[in-house]
């Protein structure tokens, strides 16, 4: 089986400081990988390098494109990379307002991604948008409201609908449940689990919440100071951590 994403020795430096260094892994279709670590560990830098938002200083990020198989997205030209960002890739930001257009209606937010890949029929776009709002549990009568009138949890669900409507194969998520109430988080996690399974999505989820990765991720990567210190099956890394830092991380979680 060909990996969907092949990451090889990716490094990013901010001047003399390390963003992330020498990160390699393969992600296969249908796999969900979590990246955990404290603030400043380089997990967001890495995610942005993988998603084409930041140019890495070294290394390759090969994606299994529909047309030509594995292609290095780092050396790909900008229009090609942007096209991937609109079609096969999706990026769910921690703050929904970074991933939504706040002055455009909910339906418009979902429809815009469809139009970006060539949809033109208004009725079809609106029907698809309504369908997706339903799938992320937003009532159909809110379709013409702006996201600014939505709660934080609703905004996050709308952002997910906007991202998934074009049927991407790889979803990057940066702290998707950060800053949400626990009850809202549970609903969002359950929704994401269902969508990942139904659509056979692969996903890379950056978070500092170990409960989130236990629920969503098959595999886990632990980062500290820009380095990957441990990788493995999610439950194995959490239940039998090998590296001192992971042991500290796991034992620091408050029990409820």
């Amino acid at each position: 089986m060909t990996p969907l994403l092949q990451v090889e020795a990716v490094s990013k430096f901010y001047g003399a400081r390390i963003g992330c260094t020498d990160v390699s892994f393969d992600l296969y279709p249908g796999e969900v990988m979590g990246i955990v670590g404290e603030s400043g560990s380089g997990k967001s830098t890495l995610l942005n390098c993988l998603a084409g938002h930041l140019p890495p200083d070294a290394g390759a990020v090969r994606f299994d494109t529909r047309a030509d198989g594995l292609r290095d997205t780092v050396t790909m030209n900008e229009p090609e990379r942007r096209m991937l960002g609109r079609t096969d890739w999706a990026f769910v930001h921690q703050h929904a307002r970074d991933g939504l257009r706040m002055n455009v209606s909910a339906g418009g937010n979902v429809g815009e991604r469809l139009m970006a890949v060539g949809a033109r029929h208004y009725g079809d776009i609106r029907n698809t948008a309504t369908d997706w709002l339903g799938r992320v549990e937003i009532a159909a009568d809110r379709i013409d409201d702006r996201p600014s009138a939505f709660s934080g949890g609703m905004q996050q669900r709308l952002q997910i609908a906007r991202n998934l409507v074009t049927g991407p194969r790889l979803v990057f998520m940066d702290e998707p449940t950060g800053g949400l109430d626990v009850s809202v988080q549970a609903r969002l996690l359950d929704l994401m689990r269902g969508l990942v399974r139904e659509m056979g999505l692969s996903a890379i989820i950056v978070t500092h919440d170990l409960a989130v990765v236990r629920l969503l991720a098959d595999r886990l990567m632990v980062m500290k100071d820009g380095h990957v210190v441990e990788t493995g099956l999610t439950d194995q890394v959490l239940d039998d951590p090998q590296h001192g830092y992971t042991q500290l991380l796991v034992s620091s979680v408050l029990q409820v």
Binding site: E31, R197, D239
Partner: protein
């Protein structure tokens, strides 16, 4: 042999407690044939659960081999273990890890759906198991989060037996069940053996162990310093 454990060793290194190394298992060795149930015995702390978790890939082996369904769990890639857990190796743990908001029926049917089983037959199998394990029908559409401990355990058992895994790990499946439900669980284990499943189990319930286990493996033999 369906399950083959060979020269399996394990130690825990506690990096945040002065790097203390605690050896917990040395040269564990046993086999389980299809249709056979092997009971792990040994005093509390001898390493029964540790061994079980290693078989499932939940604890990392230090050295040795764990061959199950064509995969060496002791050195397999995460995705090989995930595939093994999907269609060859089941595990009924002592506690149900509940996903918020998912209905009991869906919790039980999930292992079947993951293997590509049609939703109708997965649902039918889930209802059949919940019925047999005496989970009241009006609870089926609710999340098991709020169920009593015993009910959660039975949901967990239903989930573990929904798919016909060729290898099955059972951690105290009859603990704290009433006589009727205990009987149902023992019958499920006998049915699994009859269809050829290789089973490794921990049973503190001696009568249950005598009834379903063909052999016993004393884990104390593998405990460093005890053997």
């Amino acid at each position: 042999m369906m399950i083959q454990v060979e020269k399996l060793c394990k130690s825990f290194t506690l990096h945040n407690q002065g790097g203390a190394v605690i050896p917990v298992m040395q040269d564990a060795q046993f086999d389980v044939a299809p249709g056979e149930c092997v009971g792990l015995i040994g005093a509390s702390g001898a390493g029964k659960s540790t061994l079980m978790r290693m078989l499932y890939g939940n604890y990392l082996a230090a050295s040795g081999h764990i061959r199950i369904g064509g995969v060496d769990v002791a050195r397999a890639e995460p995705r090989e273990i995930l595939a093994l857990r999907r269609d060859r190796l089941g595990y009924v743990s002592q506690f149900l890890r509940v996903v918020p908001r998912v209905s009991t029926l869906d919790v039980v049917a999930e292992p079947l759906l993951r293997t590509g089983c049609a939703p109708e037959s997965a649902g039918a199998r889930a209802r059949d198991l919940l019925e047999r394990l005496n989970i009241p029908r009006h609870l089926w559409t609710l999340s098991p989060t709020t169920f009593s401990g015993g009910e959660q355990q039975r949901v967990n058992i239903a989930r573990g037996f929904a798919y016909a895994y060729p290898a099955l790990l059972l951690d105290e499946p009859t603990a704290s069940l009433d006589a009727g439900n205990r009987e149902v669980v023992l019958a499920l284990i006998e049915e699994a053996k009859a269809r050829g499943a290789a089973i490794v189990g921990i049973f503190h319930d001696e009568a249950a162990r005598r009834r379903v286990c063909d052999r016993e493996v004393d884990v104390a033999r593998f405990t460093p310093g005890l053997a």
